[in-house]
Symmetry: C2
Subunit: 120 residues, 2 copies
């Protein structure tokens, strides 16, 4: 569920152009035309990119006559940071635990445990 959301967010940010657009939107809202201007790709291509960003929830759009100003939804960042932090912390904890084990083994070098995984 929220899994799919994460997939879309990461996939959206996997494209340099799209990350660039996000960077641009971080400084201020902009229309499709304004966003397309710096790049040498067609406006349609940028429009597609924005659709991807919108589907990922990274960007929202309002209406101003025929213009569609794009706005960066910074809330999604929390989703990512939460995911990242979780596993970063887990990995670091494991590292710490492993170090402790190694220290203990230096103090009392007795049993040799085989296997690659760290069981629960």
């Amino acid at each position: 569920m929220t899994d799919d959301r994460l997939s879309r967010v990461f996939a959206a940010l996997a494209d340099p152009t799209r990350r660039d657009i996000v960077a641009r939107l971080a400084v201020g809202d902009a229309t499709v035309g304004e966003l397309a201007e710096p790049y040498d790709v067609s406006v349609q291509a940028v429009s597609k990119h924005l659709r991807v960003l919108e589907d990922a929830g990274l960007v929202s759009r309002s209406r101003d006559a025929q213009r569609r100003p794009c706005h960066l939804e910074s809330g999604v960042f929390d989703l990512m940071t939460k995911w990242i932090e979780r596993y970063r912390r887990e990995a670091e904890d494991r590292h710490r635990r492993l170090d402790a084990v190694l220290e203990q083994m230096e103090e009392a070098p007795e049993t040799e445990s085989r296997g690659s995984g760290a069981a629960s």
Copy 2:
């Protein structure tokens, strides 16, 4: 340069299976076979996933006879968090600034500025 790195990292994490593998590796190193076991895809598919994760710098591998234990490289997370935090902060700052402007406009409702972007 480091741009391509970010692309590969985000692309790697855009796949649920690959995120799952990362989650699994966060609790402890594991071999390809061990990692493949829970899924109903072929071992070769998982091997490919691991290659992607390795190319992204998220996973490193050592040798233990014919086995190739996979290890999560938690350092890459910093790269992501750095990128995310940068734009999150920028967006939030802008939000704060915009709020300030709106407040000021309520105090003295005079000039009506047109345009969608918030110039520096």
